[in-house]
Amino acid sequence: MTRQIGAAVKALLVLTVVCGIVYPAAILGVGLLVPERAAGQPVRVDGREVGSALLGQPPSGPEWFQGRPSASDAAGDTSGGSNYGPANPDLAAAVADREKALRAANPDAPQTIPADALTASASGLDPDISPEYARWQVARVAAARGLEQTRVLRLVDQHVRRAPLGILGQDRVDVLELNVALAALGRG
């Protein structure tokens, strides 16, 4: 057994060099060829980093499109979902609160609230919302910015990302990219 343990320790150390140093270092090397991707696709406005195209952001004022509810308020220091089971009263309470807040902030929005607006995502950092939820917010955003609704709606439609091949995943709108375009629209 001592001989076996000795072999085991030596084998583990050798394989640690191969799998724990050489392999990740090689992938880090490939990452140098695609630095933006390796760094998580930072979004910059006027040279200042304002987020990642892959990460949902914390909620903010009525003049911005809002992302999905997050169990961690999208702070980014942790990640995860609410883990509430479907029959958990805390889930019903959270949904009721969200519905009330959404109705109060969006008096002119359609009656039916899209499901992704009422539910917390799995990661707490979901960057996307459904195209329906983006359109649902148009009236509020347009009013808060003094823009025509059709103009904002056109912007949303330009930012809809279709599911690849029509079958991989679902249609979605990246909220940060939409907001960056919205800010540019206001200035232009």
Binding site: L55, W64, A87, P164
Partner: protein, 548 residues
């Protein structure tokens, strides 16, 4: 498109990729484990380790090597985690000793249960030198044991099963490393991050602060799925956009989960000289997986027609269908990565991932573990069929005698005994009852899910459970270790006993093990064993919740 139709499309897409991949990969693995020449890099490894690559081992020596490697792995990983504060890139992260021990056992046993959160407890050095390495070698260990069992079936009149150190090295160097490298590059191109950055804080466009995490994620993500490990770099695992940024990476990750488990049956067929045996294995595994996907797609699509669209705990870029498929692929392969939160699934939708684990991880099971778990079920099926028709049970010319049946039966009993005893213990002790997030039947599901996940070396979680406390850390660590290594020793004993036999000629009285009828018999055996063992406790958990 309805959720059901979307899931069916998703299954077809993944099945098409696997159908294309399993022949070349299965053939390659056959060559790897039957090749009588070593690669130069492998000879360097053997020289450093001090093993004679040509010296084959008896089943007992093979088992001792597996155990020695596991013990060394737990000890070194535990040590590495405990001293991470002294190493570079620790980012000020640390674990309490019981969490560290749980983690060390978890990654060594290919479970990857995580009672820690990646963002809070594991620095980049531990992720690379510790966790990534175990992701490789624990999967390679599973492959080695599966190959040793198949050698037991294909050889005759020998007490030798191969050399563990050679199988371990070849599985790592020739199978896992090349595939993981290609996958990591593809994931990186798809947006998975790969850097050594510390978390930094930015101010968003709307004037709020947000922390952006970094890390060598792509390299770990690739082997995490390929080796059916499942330990997330981040707490949200493959739901985190930095681990799984879009629909293409999601497809790739599902394929990576399934590709080795579904290619090994082909390797098995080649090694025993009868490809039809491999086809039966694929048939059994595929039938079970399609069955469980169908069941959970049905449950989640009825939930999806409600006002919440079954979107609590799911990501917009994946949607319900691709979350359900991932959930089944990850629990069916004993991986445990998640791209959606199983705790928030509908009662039956979350019960099916649990069922996948309780089937004993053969739908299609983890890397290596799936094939040897399946072969144990085959031994039982052959034995039962032999009893029914009153003939000596035979498999591939080998008699299924006393040693074979007792080994197989003990393997089958280990996991249920662990799950039921530990769940029983957990529901009578206040210390574990207080860890539940949800009450009632769902709370029982949380505890049972955790114990089943540990005992089956799966690692997925009903994440509402606050499992990071000494009692649960140690209980689950014990489940993981026993659930992994008791079956491995018994499987090797079975292999040794099979290899020692001669090969009996096929006669008119031999029961064929390559027919659809036999496929049905094995599926039935799997379902009946799991059903008889777990129906009562499932009735108190997910079934009670679904009916209430």
């Amino acid at each position: 498109m309805s959720t059901g139709l979307q899931t069916a499309t998703a299954v077809l897409v993944v099945a098409a990729v696997l159908a294309a991949a399993h022949v070349p990969l299965g053939t390659w693995m056959h060559r790897v484990f039957t090749d009588d020449r070593d690669w130069r890099v492998e000879r360097v490894v053997y020289r450093l380790v001090g093993v004679d690559a040509r010296a084959e081992q008896r089943w007992s020596a093979y088992a001792l090597s597996v155990l020695a490697f596991a013990v060394a792995s737990v000890a070194l990983l535990f040590g590495l985690i405990m001293v991470q504060g002294l190493l570079p890139w620790d980012l000020g992260r640390s674990m309490h000793w019981d969490t560290a021990l749980n983690t060390a056992v978890s990654f060594t046993t290919n479970t990857n249960w995580q009672s820690y959160s990646g963002e809070a407890a594991a620095g980049h050095t531990v992720q690379m030198l510790g966790l990534t390495v175990q992701n490789f070698v624990s999967a390679a260990t599973g492959l080695a044991v599966a190959v040793a069992l198949v050698r037991g079936l294909s050889r005759a009149h020998t007490d030798r099963l191969g050399n563990f150190w050679v199988d371990l090295t070849r599985a790592t160097v020739r199978v896992l490393l090349p595939l993981a490298t290609v996958a990591a590059v593809l994931l990186l191109l798809g947006g998975v991050v790969q850097n050594l950055a510390a978390p930094h804080t930015i101010e968003t466009l709307t004037g709020v602060q947000q922390t952006i995490q970094g890390g060598p994620v792509a390299s770990q993500e690739a082997i995490k799925e390929l080796g059916t490990n499942g330990g997330g770099f981040f707490n949200a695992n493959s739901a985190h956009p930095f681990e799984n940024p879009g629909p293409w990476t999601n497809l790739l990750e599902i394929v990576l989960l399934l590709v080795i488990p579904f290619s090994l049956p082909y390797t098995y067929g080649l090694m025993v000289g009868d490809r039809r045996q491999g086809a039966v294995a694929t048939g059994v595994m595929g039938t079970l997986l399609v069955g469980t996907v169908t069941l959970s797609a049905w449950a989640e699509s009825s939930a999806a027609s409600g006002p919440l669209g079954a979107m609590e705990g799911k990501e917009q870029r994946f949607g319900v269908a691709w979350s359900v498929l991932f959930a089944n692929a990850t629990t069916g392969t004993s991986t445990g990565a998640v791209n959606s939160m199983h705790d928030s699934y509908s009662a039956l939708g979350g019960g099916v991932p649990l069922l996948n684990m309780l089937l004993g991880e053969v739908s299609p099971g983890g890397v290596g573990t799936g094939l040897y778990g399946y072969l144990v079920m085959v031994v039982l099926a052959v034995f039962i069929a032999g009893l029914m028709v009153g003939r000596t049970p035979e498999l591939l010319g080998k008699t299924i005698g006393r040693t074979e049946v007792t080994s197989a039966a003990l393997v089958t009993l280990t996991m249920p005994a662990l799950v039921l005893l530990s769940t029983g213990l957990a529901v009578v002790l206040p210390v574990s009852l207080d860890a539940r997030l949800n009450d009632g039947p769902h709370g029982l599901s949380e505890l049972m899910y955790a114990v089943a996940s540990a005992s089956n070396n799966n690692g997925s979680a009903f994440a509402g459970l606050s499992a990071d406390q000494p009692f649960l850390n140690l209980l689950l660590a014990a489940c993981m270790f026993v659930g992994r290594f008791v079956p491995i020793v018994l499987v090797l004993r079975l292999a040794g006993s099979l290899a020692a036999q001669g090969k009996r000629p096929v006669t008119a009285g031999t029961m064929p093990t390559h027919t659809p009828l036999f496929t049905t018999l094995v599926v039935g055996t799997v379902l009946i064993v799991a059903g008889l063992t777990f129906f009562p406790s499932l009735a108190l958990g997910p079934i009670a919740e679904a009916l209430s």
